[in-house]
Symmetry: C2
Subunit: 243 residues, 2 copies
DNA sequence: CGGAGCTTTGAGGAGCTTCAATACATGTGG
DNA sequence: CCACATGTATTGAAGCTCCTCAAAGCTCCG
């Protein structure tokens, strides 16, 4: 329902073979760079290019829902996506924010284990599930990379689990802001936050009221400064996390 | 430091080739059964047998520490192990309890991302890291299984993260007890708890006082009955988790 | 300018933690 | 076999953090 599959109703750019390669080189550049770091095999690289197609989404659009049959494997090319799960009582847990170069969930799996929605304007790189799996199976190199990807996802999730278990609201928020800046590779002190407060709250397992109050507290401490669509990090690292 | 490597100082049973296979078939039986569910290849099965050796540990012994070079890959044959991480401020987070048939952490990784200690009397199945990785690389079947293993670990960790984020002490404990019973495949209502209260508390991110109180509360509700070295589950499933 | 959605602020309450003391278990030496 | 010592588990009372419910402020867009 509303998933971005080959039969989805929204805008999917299908291109002629002639332009496929170049467009895909742009769209998938960061993904392939990430995925292939080190041991590039030019032949496999090209193969993967030809399997990819491009999908563009407006803010708020659903990409897939938890439990959906995984017809496609997605990699983010541009924008920010929220990956979340619904709990029995209606609460929502954001599992991760996906950025360019990252898979949406675990590839290979038969069905999606979480839902995905575009936060801002998004461009995705799509592979048909079967084709992607066949490609991976034929390439021990790629399989190994997938294992590593899974391991790093596991590491990240464990880090979150520890954060949720033991950290105060202030520690959670500070850690989130620092991690987020690092993932964005932000050069300046300004860190954009394209998502809603509610998204951050649901990621850190806080109520949005508590999140607001904690942001205000950090600003009062001169650790951050709130600006439209983001924050400026001032002295967050040492002082806040230590105390 | 105190790790169970090929050069470790404690009891390692090195066997003659003649008895290797049979002992290992016992020791690794559950592991290989799990790992190979479905698509068994007898040849690879044998290969793996011959790479394995056996390690026995007393309660409380350290198997490896976070950050150690991963000289060995371990699979539990018998007993229960706590996998944990230390936080900056000295607190401890138990990441998982490992049971027979399970890997201790992610195989293939260069170094251990958590520490491991025997809870009770433990028997491990050990592979040298290099040999295990070479075997895995040579077997697409096994690689695929490893990806699936990683994905299921990821799924489990996400489940824990959600539990820690949103559930009350009572919900966490109830979920833990039910999951633990299911993993043990306990036929009777009695569920053994070989670990300390403190271990369970550090797993659920609760203080051990809170854990005790919550156990008492569940007993008062007739949901469980506390007995030495374990609990008897009475009516835990529906009533407690719903309310 | 007005409305809808998002964000911030306020007051009161519930749940977990902290510190402290008591009870229980296990193993050791007399 | 008992007495004691050590580590583990439970119970009690006070405090703090976060949550809940409620209202007001802000921002974006028609």
């Amino acid at each position: 329902m509303g998933s971005v599959g080959p039969t989805a109703q929204h805008r999917t750019i299908e291109r002629s073979p002639a332009v496929t390669r170049r467009e895909c080189e742009n769209a998938c550049a960061s993904f392939l760079t990430d995925f292939w770091r080190g041991s590039a095999d030019p032949v496999e690289f090209r193969q993967l290019y030809h399997l990819a197609s491009e999908v563009e989404l407006a803010p708020g659009q659903t990409i897939f829902s938890e439990g959906d049959y995984a017809a496609s494997v997605f990699v983010v090319s541009k924008g920010c996506i929220r990956l979340y799960k619904h709990l029995a009582d209606g609460r929502r847990q954001i599992v991760a924010f996906a950025l360019p170069g990252e898979f949406l969930g675990m590839p290979i799996a038969e069905s999606h284990n979480c839902s995905a929605e575009a936060i801002d304007q998004v461009v995705l790189c799509r592979f048909r599930h079967g084709e992607f799996v066949r490609f991976v199976q034929s390439s021990p190199n790629t399989m190994r990379r997938l294992i590593d990807f899974a391991a790093s996802q596991l590491e990240m999730t464990m880090r979150v689990a520890m954060l949720l278990g033991y950290a105060s609201a202030e520690e959670r928020l500070a850690t989130f802001l620092i991690d987020w800046r690092n993932r964005l590779g932000a050069s300046s002190q300004f860190v954009p936050l394209p998502m809603l407060r509610r998204d951050i709250a649901d990621f850190l397992s806080l109520k949005q009221e508590t999140l607001s109050r904690t942001l205000a507290k950090l600003e009062a401490k001169n650790a951050i400064r709130l600006v439209p669509k983001g924050v400026v990090l001032l002295g967050l690292d040492a002082p806040v996390c230590a105390g």
